[in-house]
């Protein structure tokens, strides 16, 4: 029942949020396509190992990829049908991944887990692991691992910030599946043995704030509309006032942050005995005819999604998986929905920026805006001159790659790209 304002954090940027394109569109269930391409690495860590063969009949929510290690996750079929191929496919994001291709026969047979008898942390975490739930905000870290920290935590924070422009899927879920989120959160809290639950929601979503104010045991924290409020470290600071030290994780300050979609998946796995086989995502941008929020079967191809949304209009120059600030550009449309997808954007050349970079003029806007208080212009110039040691000294490893620096750069320098390059070089050379 308590609503309070979040702590103010002075560093960050204001971006045009463009959410109006489909903020008020209810989530529509997209019919399962004729063929699904289910990736075996939809998470951080080791890819799942396919346990079906070409020609096998599978039913919906049947295990087709088995986890292969602690940091890994099960993958389930999202349709009924026949396995027609297990192939390495290079998707439009440039990564080569093993996909199980299933031809949909339109059947509605489904497999469910058994009912959980006793609700203990151990059984809950085991069920979450079994259901193949990973962090659905984008990182894809196995949730079962995240819910079994080595130290005792005291606060569970639900990330309802959704600070990326264009995306609305979390917002729609907060309005339409409020009760599911509440129940999922309670299970996550039970698994962690935590009483204190906070949900952080940006101030531009008053309806979502209203929806959660009815629960007496969840504290609603209204966050300033600012990018990147959905970053774990900033969410923790603004809701609890705790600073996650550089190079440390949220659990080092006693917090666990969960995504809206993840807690809904937890609810479905525990109460409805369903494995994770679908996701909710936003299809938006000036280049798509009908922007929509969709509930979609995992493995649906982007071409099918484009067709369902009325096709492309105008001249889109960029297709992005995820939000426009941190999402990945794709070279074509051979992409298949994964658990962690939060949206597909089709941007026209008016919306996106393809200006050539010019000389840095040392205006220091990047340093002024960096939410991690880094100095991107120095890290960039160190990275470009190959001095990765200095790049590390200037805090390159703390970079979130949120894009606040490059967003405001008047010289249009590719700061995120250079810093990401420095980060991978620092890891590679073990500096």
């Amino acid at each position: 029942m308590s609503i309070r304002k979040g702590k103010n954090y002075p560093y960050g940027i204001h971006v045009k949020d463009m959410k109006e394109l489909c903020a008020e569109c209810p989530i529509i269930k997209m019919p399962a396509p004729k063929k699904v391409y289910i990736s075996m690495s939809q998470h951080i860590g080791a890819p799942a190992i396919p346990i079906v063969n070409v020609g096998d009949k599978v039913v919906k929510r049947q295990l087709i990829g088995k986890e292969s290690g602690v940091i890994s996750a099960n993958v389930y079929s999202s349709v009924c049908g026949t396995v027609v191929g297990i192939e390495d496919i290079v998707t439009a994001s440039g990564l080569k991944m093993k996909h199980v291709i299933i031809e949909n026969d339109g059947g509605d047979e489904e497999i469910f887990f058994d009912n959980i008898e006793n609700f203990e942390p151990k059984t809950i975490i085991e069920r979450i692991r079994l259901a193949g739930i990973v962090g659905l905000g984008g990182a894809g870290f196995p949730t079962a691992v995240k819910l079994s920290p080595s130290i005792k935590l005291d606060t569970l924070i639900i990330n309802g910030a959704e600070c990326e422009p264009y995306l609305n899927c979390d917002y729609r879920l907060m309005l339409e599946n409020t009760e599911d989120i509440y129940r999922g959160v309670k299970y996550a809290a039970l698994a962690l043995g935590i009483k204190k639950i906070i949900i952080g929601i940006e101030a531009n979503k008053p309806k979502a704030i209203e929806a959660f104010s009815k629960y007496h045991d969840i504290e609603v924290v209204v966050l300033k509309k600012q990018y990147p409020m959905g970053s774990e470290k900033h969410l923790i600071y603004c809701t609890t006032g705790r600073k996650v030290p550089c190079g440390k994780m949220p659990f080092d300050v006693g917090c666990c942050v969960q995504n809206i979609k993840t807690v809904i998946a937890i609810k479905h796995a525990i109460e409805d005995n369903k494995a994770l086989s679908s996701t909710v995502l936003t299809v938006s941008g000036g280049g798509i005819k009908e922007p929509k929020n969709l509930r979609i079967q995992i493995g649906t191809s982007l071409d099918d999604i484009i067709e369902f949304c009325g096709g492309l209009v105008g001249d889109s120059v960029k297709i992005i998986a995820g939000g426009p600030m941190m999402g990945k550009a794709m070279i074509g449309t051979n992409s298949y929905t994964r658990k962690t997808n939060s949206g597909y954007l089709f941007l026209t050349d008016k919306e996106t920026n393809v200006d050539e970079p010019t000389n840095c003029i040392n205006c220091a806007r990047c340093a002024k805006n960096c939410p991690m208080r880094l100095m991107p212009m120095y890290i960039e110039s160190f990275a470009l001159s190959g001095d990765f040691e200095s790049a590390k000294k200037y805090g390159a490893m703390n970079c979130l790659e949120c894009g606040s620096c490059a967003y405001n750069c008047p010289a249009k320098r590719p700061l995120v790209q250079s810093i990401a390059m420095a980060k991978s070089k620092i890891k590679e050379l073990k500096i």
Binding site: A329, G332, D355, N398
Partner: protein, 326 residues
């Protein structure tokens, strides 16, 4: 695949703010317009010619340099970012109206070619090109420059006796009309430096457009005024004349705030502008001449040093130190 079209592939972020270097520089030019107009109103056609020639000299030097460097005219025109316009305007505004017309051209050419382009162009210069160009003109044409002042109403060139040198020479400060100083009426001086109102309007415009932090020039101006007061036995009647005379306003608002030659952190900037104020007041007192551009040039050289030692601490930095120490 149904759709064989290839799309643009690039690193995030995929949306960017509309601000560009060109836009920033055009805004600075717009902010300088009130001073240009005031200069032309007070000093007449000659002022216009000087400003025009210094801008022309600056832009032409940049084009000639790049043509010699082997770039195509079309590319140069496309990449032209108006920084040389700003440099030219500042040089034109910071010399006297009776200066011979070849001086602004030489000053601009020196500023652009030697100070800016040889070091790598926009953003790579060590010192502010406009300041260096002005000083180059003063050093090279010492006698001519000193005779270039003109009191607008009398129409006669006068030698070296701007209000500032009068104040520093011990003239009675109480006889000065602060309003005249502020508006630039009946005042001898450089074309763009006499009308403080026009400069302040420009400064406010830049602050509103988010191009400069108005706090920094205020620090510079206030520190200069206060230190002058302190050096004169805490006689507060020196405060307004000292901040309203000479090239302080133009220097503080438009020259010292130059992105390339000012520090990159808030703390660094505060240090830089306080130092500018102290050195300006001190040197003015010690030498009896106007020193703002020399001080900016001098302090520009300390900027890399400030930037080396004053850097931002990453979010969560302090706690990490503690953990390391345990």
């Amino acid at each position: 695949m149904a759709n064989e079209k290839l799309y643009t592939f690039s690193s995030s972020p995929h949306i960017k703010a509309p601000t560009t270097t060109k836009g920033v520089m055009i805004n600075v030019c717009i902010a300088l317009l009130p001073a240009v107009i005031a200069g032309i109103v007070f000093f007449g056609l000659n002022a216009f010619l000087i400003i025009f020639l210094s801008v022309f000299g600056a832009v032409a030097s940049e084009f000639i340099y790049l043509l010699i460097a082997g770039k195509k005219f079309k590319d140069i025109a496309k990449q032209f970012d108006f920084t040389s316009c700003v440099t030219g305007l500042l040089i034109g505004l910071s010399i006297g109206s009776q200066t011979p017309l070849y001086v602004p051209i030489f000053a601009s050419a020196f500023a652009i070619i030697v100070v800016k382009m040889i070091f790598g162009g926009t953003g790579k210069n060590l010192v502010n090109p406009a300041v260096a160009g002005r000083i180059f003109a003063f050093m090279s044409f010492t006698t001519i420059m000193a005779n270039g002042w003109l009191t607008p109403t009398s129409g006669e060139p006068i030698t070296g006796a701007t209000v500032l040198t009068g104040i520093l020479g011990g003239a009675d400060v109480s006889s000065l009309s602060i309003l005249d100083l502020f508006l630039g009426v009946n005042l001898a001086g450089c074309i763009g430096e006499t009308c403080k109102l026009a400069l302040i309007l420009g400064g406010i415009y830049l602050a509103v457009r988010g191009i400069i932090n108005i706090g920094y020039p205020i620090i510079y101006i206030v520190v200069t005024g206060l230190f002058t007061v302190a050096l004169n036995g805490f006689n507060f009647s020196y405060f307004l004349p000292s901040i309203l005379s000479g090239g302080l306003m133009l220097g503080a608002i438009f020259m010292a705030t130059d992105y390339t030659t000012s520090p990159n952190t808030t703390l660094g900037n505060v240090i830089y502008f306080i130092a500018l104020g102290l050195v300006t007041a001190g040197l003015r007192q010690a030498t009896g001449i106007e020193v703002v551009s020399f001080v900016i040039l001098l302090m520009n050289l300390f900027v890399p040093l400030i930037d080396k030692f004053v850097i931002n601490r990453p979010f969560g930095f302090v706690k990490q130190k503690k953990v390391k120490g345990e």
